[in-house]
Amino acid sequence: MSIFISREACVGCRRCVEACPGNLIKLDADGKAYIRHPKDCWGCTSCVKECGREAISFFLGADMGGRGSRLTTHKEGDFRYWKITDAAGLEQTIVVNQKDANRY
């Protein structure tokens, strides 16, 4: 389980670099973010949430039942949108109201 960073979408703002609790993300010579050790990712999605460009997606390794779906997210006001794109490109979005607490 790890993250994937799109070079095209990344603008080098460093927010993910600062958000990662494991110091795993660095900027390369072109100022694009990359994860130094994909195997070291904890899967906390801090970077996914902090990136304002939706450049970072999150996936499950095959050892965890991953089949190629990717998770991205963005926030609009109180609402957080979680978009899951499966291997075939089908999208599904789950919206969570941040002002709502978990019912469980």
């Binding site: 990662c20 390794g61 965890m64």
Partner: protein, 577 residues
């Protein structure tokens, strides 16, 4: 290597839950006191709270008292927990909860406007942004300076106490020397000691943050601080693969634990935290695995709420449900026990502290998962401990003729000299690993880490032995860990990132040795799974005492303490009453 020297009144090591709250407390109660937080990552999302949490697990709900919480936690720990620590923690959890709400945390309310409870001790929140909320509050304080991306490795000892700490920047070739009158250790617990559930590509998909590597324990051990209850390991019952919490499913939709035959086994083995893990391991051992949380048949809307709840704290579980093509109402959720962790916020391993969270080393305080004796503190308990430690620091610094404030000129000079020698020694070690004269890359930190995890797994009660061990195995484990410790001396680091991994490994190995010594010292099975000693399978009243240790001359020296001990004696000696 470039170096920076920073002088402050109070140094907080680790800007996590407890560390941030200690800084906020000092800012509020003594705005003139200078505080520096040295944090390995960036306080914005560092530590346990990175992914968010979905409940406050320690809260005194209406009709309950702080003493009820103490009684529960003590029972759950089979008697090995400090009542004085538990009580001072439990008395503060509602206070800090209110403060969290003021900072912006969303807490679910019932129809009367009271916090909505989940069971007797939990309240429901939306804790996705709990860490950024704390971090923002800290950044607003004028007397608090946060230095991010600095990994602290060692305390500076002088004058019979702790006078500061040294560390290095995780990217730049730069060393930091901090000098402080008081130091608070708040580095969290230790993960990655044992071979994890997913040892391959997803090796870091563990419950506890893989970046909390036991630095605070290791520094304290090396400096000779007394440690307690390292034999009470914490093993979590988690969703298979994703290691996501199970409580949300179990308590949220009332799902029961069932085995492969569909039999409910959760009450068969007892209901304490360790017995629940043990039951699952025992069912597997008896050939009745895998085990599940029985969610099949819950309503579709419950299923949807679960998807959302997990996005707020463990998004990989939501993704897993979706990847599998079957949502929680369509399939049971497989569960497993994790590898053992050392974490004083769930179980009781950590620094031996007095009621005010002073360690046995003058000038050093501990709070949160790194502090021992006080299990089940969770988020709110860590915050309270941060507050209590901060108050003790302010009291000690303010006391007339406080030995922490070094006024005497001659003593100060001696102290400076001592600090200078220590600093050179530690910084010399960094340089040695970084210098090109290091060994060729036959062994890397990664390789030795895998070796360590294999040893702990096979010989010190990991997943592969269903958490069981005996004296012979512990002996083998100790020999092998000692060998690996020696091998770390020659490790070469190409850059600061590699240096970080070398130090994380060294910390873990030292913590492993203390864990092994404690497991061997408690000659009984006080807790199933957490400390399952097959040479002594039963519980015995003779062992109603604390197993503590002090590290001296390269050896872990065990000492026992009575259950009534509150860590006070040391204080009297140190602060003259």
């Amino acid at each position: 290597m470039e170096r920076e020297r920073i002088v402050t009144d109070v140094l907080i090591i680790g800007g996590g839950t407890a560390g941030c709250y200690a800084a906020l407390t000092i800012a509020k109660e003594s705005p003139g006191t200078k505080v520096v937080i040295a944090e390995k990552a960036n306080i914005i999302r560092s530590g346990c709270l990175a992914a968010g949490v979905n409940a406050l697990n320690a809260y005194i709900t209406p009709g309950q008292t702080a003493q009820d919480y103490v009684d529960y936690a003590k029972r759950d720990a089979a008697g090995i927990a400090r009542e004085d620590l538990l009580l001072s923690m439990a008395e503060g959890v509602n206070r800090v909860t209110e403060h969290l709400e003021q900072l912006g945390l969303v807490i679910l309310k019932d129809e009367y406007g009271a916090y909505a409870a989940r069971g007797k001790r939990n309240i429901k929140i939306n804790g996705e942004n709990i860490k950024p909320l704390l971090a923002e509050a800290v950044k607003k304080q004028k007397n608090v300076t946060v230095i991010n991306h600095v990994n602290i490795t060692d305390y500076l000892l002088a004058d019979g106490g702790i006078a500061g700490a040294v560390g290095f920047h995780v990217d730049e070739r730069k060393a930091y020397v901090f000098l402080a009158d008081a130091v608070l250790c708040a580095t969290g617990g230790a993960a990655g000691l044992y071979r994890p559930n997913n040892p391959g590509f997803s090796r870091h998909k563990m419950w506890y943050p893989p970046f909390n590597t036991g630095a605070g324990y290791a520094m304290g051990i090396r400096a000779g601080a007394e440690m307690t209850t390292f034999e009470m390991r914490f093993i979590a019952l988690r969703c298979k693969d994703t290691i996501a919490p199970t409580g949300t499913i179990a308590q949220g939709v009332g799902a029961r634990q069932i085995n492969a035959k569909g039999e409910v086994y959760e009450t068969k083995y007892g209901i304490t935290t360790s017995e629940r893990v043990y039951g699952t391991a025992a069912e597997n051992l008896a050939g009745r695995g895998p085990c599940y949380l029985h969610t099949e048949g819950i309503s579709e809307s419950q299923s949807e709420d679960l998807l959302k709840a997990y996005l707020n704290m463990a998004p990989s579980q939501t993704l897993k449900w979706i990847e599998s093509g079957r949502l929680p109402h369509e399939q049971d959720v497989e569960i497993e026990g994790t590898e053992p962790y050392i974490v004083g916020g769930h179980t009781a391993s950590g620094y031996w502290v007095d009621t005010d969270r002073r360690t046995t080393l003058p000038g050093l305080y501990a709070a949160g998962d790194v502090a021992g004796g006080c299990p089940q503190k969770y988020v709110t308990g860590a915050l309270v401990e941060g507050e209590l430690a901060a108050q003790a620091i302010l009291a000690d610094l303010g006391a007339a003729g406080s030995p922490l404030r070094r006024a005497d000129e001659k003593r100060r000079r001696l102290r400076e000299e001592r600090i200078a020698t220590e600093t050179e020694r530690y910084l010399g070690e960094y340089e040695a690993h970084l210098s090109s004269g290091g060994s060729p890359a036959m062994f890397t930190a990664e390789q030795l880490e895998e070796a360590m995890q294999k040893v702990m797994d096979n010989y010190a009660g990991g997943i592969s032995t269903h958490y069981r061990y005996n004296e012979r195995q512990l002996h083998i484990a100790d020999d092998k860990i000692l060998m690996l410790q020696k091998m770390t001396e020659k490790l070469h680091a190409d850059d600061m990132d590699e240096l970080l991994h070398v130090y994380e490994l060294k910390e873990r190995l030292l913590v492993c040795r203390v864990v092994i010594a404690h497991l061997a010292a408690r000659k009984e099975t006080r807790w199933h799974a957490f400390a399952e000693n097959t040479d002594y399978p039963g519980q015995s009243d003779e062992w109603l005492k604390y197993v503590n240790s002090v590290y001296r001359d390269g050896k872990v020296k065990i000492r026992f303490r009575e259950l009534t001990d509150t860590g006070k004696q040391e204080r009297a000696e140190v602060y003259g009453g």
